[in-house]
């Protein structure tokens, strides 16, 4: 469904007139099928978030192509209602002047102008993510981190996308809330049969939810491994990563 082929990306480095460029992604290729949860694991600065932005079509790759159902993802029409995202910073991802209702309404209105239908849909979405309808009139600052992230997820799934990208969506939450959100995502995956792209630095969380993980380092794919085979990783970096994990 989502096909990333030979993608390269570099950013300008240094001052205004510097011509030096820093390569962030170096020839990345992989595929993600329908209904699969794909994890991308890497340390900070490895370029995994850049890859996420490219997949969302927010930025364009320098080389290579990203195809969604065979069409370029850069095209807005291709993305519309098909790809959604949830980002790490729950505080800044909801407009502070919007209530929860308005925030979720925003993507709904693009697809369907009928207000009444949308209203009932909001209740349903809130229920899905484990919030009750009394949250509709709350503002983002009244929500806790876990609740705000749930609203973000509700907004992302409101368009019923086939692909949901989660960029460190649970990293800044408490562990107990992380487990709740992960369980919620698992449920949603079964209900909507959507595919997830789960970008994280936390292998344990990835192991909890993903079917397959990509281990990412310095803008390159070190290894792609099915989650059942995680213990049999080949590359040195992946082994180091697994060893340095602090388990409970």
């Amino acid at each position: 469904m989502l096909k990333v082929k030979g993608v390269k990306k570099s950013y300008k480095k240094g001052g205004l007139f510097s011509t030096e460029r820093q390569e962030v992604l170096k020839d990345v290729s992989f595929e993600c099928e329908n209904g699969v949860c794909l994890g991308i694991i890497g340390e900070s600065g490895s370029g995994k978030s850049t890859l996420g932005r490219l997949m969302l079509g927010i930025e364009k790759p320098d080389h290579g192509s990203i195809l969604f159902n065979g069409k370029e993802v850069e095209n807005r029409e291709v993305r519309l209602g098909n790809i959604s995202a949830v980002f790490q910073d729950y505080k800044s991802s909801i407009n502070p002047f919007f209530t929860v209702e308005e925030a979720i309404m925003e993507p709904l209105i693009i697809k369907n102008k009928n207000k009444k239908e949308n209203q009932s849909k909001i209740d349903q979405l809130l229920y899905r993510v484990g919030l009750n309808p009394s949250y509709r009139n709350k503002y983002p600052h009244e929500l806790s981190g876990g609740e705000a992230q749930r609203v973000g997820i509700a907004r992302a799934i409101s368009a019923e996308p086939t692909c949901l990208l989660l960029d460190e969506a649970i990293s800044s939450l408490d562990i107990s809330v992380q487990t709740q959100v992960l369980n919620l995502l698992k449920e949603l995956k079964n209900i909507y049969n959507m595919s997830f792209i789960f970008i994280t630095h936390d292998i344990q969380a990835a192991a909890y939810i993903c079917d397959r993980v990509i281990i990412f380092k310095d803008g390159k794919i070190e290894e792609i491994v099915e989650i059942e085979q995680l213990k049999n990783v080949q590359s040195d970096y992946a082994k180091q990563l697994l060893q340095s994990l602090i388990t409970f």
């Binding site: 900070s44 562990i175 487990t179 630095h201 340095s244 994990l245 409970f248």
Partner: protein, 277 residues
Amino acid sequence: MENILEVRNLRVWDLNSDKVLIANNSFDLRRSSCLAIVGESGSGKSITCRSIMRLNGSSLRQSGEILFKGENLTTLSEKKMRRKRGRKLCMILQNGMSAFDPSCVIGVHLKETLAEHFDCDWKKNEIEEKMKLAMESVMLKNPIEIMNKYPHQLSGGMLQRIMIALAIVLEPDIIIADEPTTALDTVSQFEVVEQFIQLRKKMGCSMIFISHDLGVVRKIADEVLVMKDGEIVERGPTEAIFLKPEHKYTKYLVSTRLALSENFKKLMRGETIVAES
């Protein structure tokens, strides 16, 4: 063992809303032991620490006694308290990015801090030399190069380690680490925790370690306080708390954490054999 820090009936409340944030908490920190405070965000862990350092915002008021080696910190003048901070009680903050001055290179900040605390009886190159050694001991390569960089050019893990290096040079009696590993990725988290363990071995200092990650706490702490909504709900030695949690809330924290790692461990069974071969 004698207590190096005693907190008696600490109460913190918000002046604007009269909301009580910390209600009558008492705890002790023994010499060269590590006390961990765990709890969810908003449970008052950070406020407890900041009130020990007396660094809470002006809208928060505190009452109760904080005895450091028998001396009451709450009644000290601001000037005397400043002498205590850094030299006696050193705080390592969660967010490396905002803990350093963004407008000058790291080295300037380090020199300023050290010159302040050691009354300039160290020469400039002496400071540099000591800092270099400390930075090498926390596995930072090219310390001189790093000292000439701005905070935004370094990663979160590196900044965290620079703060630890600074603590090594200052040789405080108590280190207060406020969620030092939360913002880091797996590999640097592991390294930073290792550094903390080394730090304790090397200097024998006492430590208050705040975290919501029970895995890290289990690795480093001797004793644990569990906090919820500003109250201490359970306390005891680390293993006892995690193996036999008594309070409902502790049980909940432990079970959610277990749910996360159980799945992972299942996948990883026999992993050590692979890693060693």
